[in-house]
Amino acid sequence: MDAATPLFRMEGISKRYGGVRALEKADLTVTAGGIHAILGENGAGKSTLIKIMAGVVAPDEGTMTLDGREVSFASPAAANQAGIVCIFQELSLIPELSVADNIVISDPPKRFGMIDRKAQRRIAEEALARAGASDIHPRALVKDLPLSRRQMVEIAKALARKPRILILDEATSALTAADVAKVFEVLKRLRSEGLALLYISHRMNEIAELADHCTVFRNGRNVASYPAGSKSDNEVVELMIGREYSHIFPPKPGPTAAATTVLEARNLSWADRLDNISLSVKAGEVVGLGGLDGQGQRELLLAFFGVLRGLSGEILIDGKPVSIASPTAASHGRIGMALIPEDRKTEGLMLPMTVRENLSFAALDRLSKAGIIDRAAEQRLIDDMVGLLAIKTAGLDIPVGALSGGNQQKVVIAKWLMRQPRIILLNDPTRGIDVGTKQELYQLMRKLADAGAAILFYSTDYDELIGCCDRVLVLYDGAVKRELVGAEITEHALIASALNIHGEGAGPRQGAGA
């Protein structure tokens, strides 16, 4: 592996989504016969980089060279053709088809125009064996397999395409400890066969065991590249930190001493996504939810809001146990809860409907008498909200889809404030909105807390958690791993506990495998 000429190189790659830059003149060099780990916190540009490599999105500028020749990929299929295969986080398997069908799906072997089932079976068995998953039967239906087995099929499917560069994006996140060991063996064997592997993971111990080389991304740039094992975990965390911008956050008075607990959870568990979560939020308090994306934060908020079924544990409002069976129950009456959902375009708003209709949608019961909307009252309340949140719109009767992202988000928040909620759950409300609007939302959040609301706030932006929250709970694998209070909330502490490298070095693997 010494003196290898780079197999693949990316130079000066930039990509913007709207006004937000995801990658800024990023470089990456991949050599054959090596495992290359890519590190970085949420939104550092890792996934955009991979999508560009795999032909899912096109870069705005920059060049890619493969074997010294410049290349560009119009589609994932084109990238596959060139030997670059990516295993994405979201699964691309077809549930109702068998494992073998899925493995050969993009190019099935044919005989007389029909799919050659024997050849298909052979290819599938080979691929499964190479992936170290011979225990999976090629005829089993994908939908009948548990998540960890599906991920193994996904790996086998990638191997069946005979890649030269294999990208694994969090491909081990759902695997059991035994599977991870197998996958590692496979990956090491592939390395010895001369493949280039790109490995993205948040599990530091995995990277330590596997990688030959590491590159750290931050703010859309590659900030450091070093041979694996030459830096300590702490040094790596330092490299990942360091945002350029900083916000002005309002002061945090926190809850008064006399404040009562409004929202409380005891031993909340759901499926395999929430694991024995207990927490409480006082009136006037902003409690943050931290951790890597997808560690159960979204499910936790949905659990409070009455969306999940089969929840075990207790939810208490004002110290009294309640059972919340629907968003209607959560938002109406005594509970007075509001959820600012994750995706404002599909969960928060009806885009083709007008600003007015969207604003009053969650409060229709309050604005109407005997089912008939009191238009004067509606107008008054809407005027209040448009003023309070400074929503910029060309009128109340234009489709809400015509507003900017930031103003759309303000509409989502305003429609809930029209109910004057006592408990406000926010699911990453500042994602994809401009800096100015973010500032306004921080001010608003504090203002609502000061007025007595209990706020549970999930954010993927650590800066926000530091700036806005009185306390932060860090989630990992669906469980609260750490609680940070007041001055403890630092970027270092947030990242370290998000990666679960703080304290017990063994990590969660044993726990997950047990």
């Binding site: 209607t328 209709e357 604005l367």
Partner: protein, 328 residues
């Protein structure tokens, strides 16, 4: 959704026209064109008598299409219209056979039978989440089975009550048939419900994005159930009126109303995917369909030609403005 491209002209148009849905304007334009074409064929097409007669015929379809529209606004469909219509008609006539009480209760009984069919549909769609197309086909079959058993397979012998006949054919205001007044009242009520009530807002919200409506604390299942019940009731009421018009019910009287009611709603600019559309458009669609039928029959176009023209016109209009977004 999209602002009209003829911005300059639109700026000078009256406000109500500027805000009008292009589909509704198109539908009304088609009505005018049809009338002009008809008047070339025969002078009487523009006479008040002919127009009122058409409006009267249109009002039966109008009542049925009102219910259909409510369901389509939710992004669902009601294929149980044929036998909801027939059930309403037959049950109302049947009740009439049971003495004076039966006569008095004939109309509400007929409508309630339709509501019952609609409730089964609504439970299937909202609570069991069976695709509306499937469950309404099934209830249609069950309703048909029940009616066949009830009538013994012959055309029903009971005849419509005087009240039913009066509603369908009588005149309260000289010159204006009662059927037209009924349609106007139901239409006005529908406009009110859709634009002024929380129920109406919820219907549009669910049609646009049921997930967002649910997360906004709307009891989406209850709304869907009610909408289907209303649709069933209105179909049955349409049947009651038709029975009054013909003095009795008939086995397959509803068959001729399924496609036209869907077509009227969709041609009036209501999106088949739900969430978008105005009642004015449905009015235009109903009149358009009725005129088309009338002209085809005046021209002595056989049933075959009518069916073909229907189908082609609907597909063509849908391809013009009823398409799903390009990528999903």
């Amino acid at each position: 959704m999209s602002e009209t491209t003829l911005g300059g002209i639109a700026g000078r148009m009256p406000k109500f026209l500027r805000r009008a849905d292009p589909a509704v304007v198109t539908a009304f334009a088609c009505i005018v064109i049809l009338l002009l074409l008809g008047s070339l064929y025969s002078r009487s097409f523009l006479s008040p008598e002919y127009l009122l007669q058409q409006l009267k015929v249109a009002s039966f379809l109008g009542v049925i299409a009102t219910g259909m529209m409510l369901v389509i606004l939710l992004g669902q469909i009601d294929l149980s219209v044929p036998w909801s219509v027939a059930t309403g008609a037959m049950m109302a006539c049947a009740a009439a056979a049971y003495g004076p009480v039966g006569v008095a209760l004939a109309i509400p009984f007929g409508v309630l039978c339709g509501v019952a069919i609609g409730i089964v549909n609504g439970i299937g769609v909202a609570y069991l989440r069976i695709p509306s197309m499937i469950i309404t086909l099934a209830t249609n079959a069950v309703a048909q089975g029940l009616m066949v058993v009830y009538t013994g397979g012959f055309s029903p012998q009971d005849s419509a009550t005087a009240a039913m006949r009066y509603l369908a054919t009588g005149f309260t205001i000289p010159g204006v048939p009662n059927a037209v007044i009924i349609w106007a009242l139901i239409g006005a009520a529908m406009v009110f419900v859709l634009t002024r009530t929380s129920f109406g807002r919820a219907v549009y919200g669910i049609g646009n994005r049921e997930r967002a409506a649910y997360l906004s604390g709307i009891d989406t299942r209850r709304i869907v159930l009610i909408a289907f019940a209303v649709s069933g009731g209105l179909s049955a009421f349409g049947g009651v009126l038709l029975a009054g018009y013909a003095s009795k019910a008939a086995q397959s009287m509803g068959d001729a109303y399924l496609l036209p009611s869907i077509a009227a709603v969709v041609l009036g600019g209501t999106s088949i995917l739900g969430g978008r559309g105005s009642y004015l458009g449905t009015v235009a669609g109903v009149i358009l369909i009725t005129l088309l039928q009338s002209i085809l029959s005046v021209m002595q176009m056989p049933e075959a030609g009518r069916q073909i023209i229907y189908g082609v016109v609907i597909v063509a209009m849908l391809l013009l403005y009823g398409r799903a977004p390009a990528s999903r």
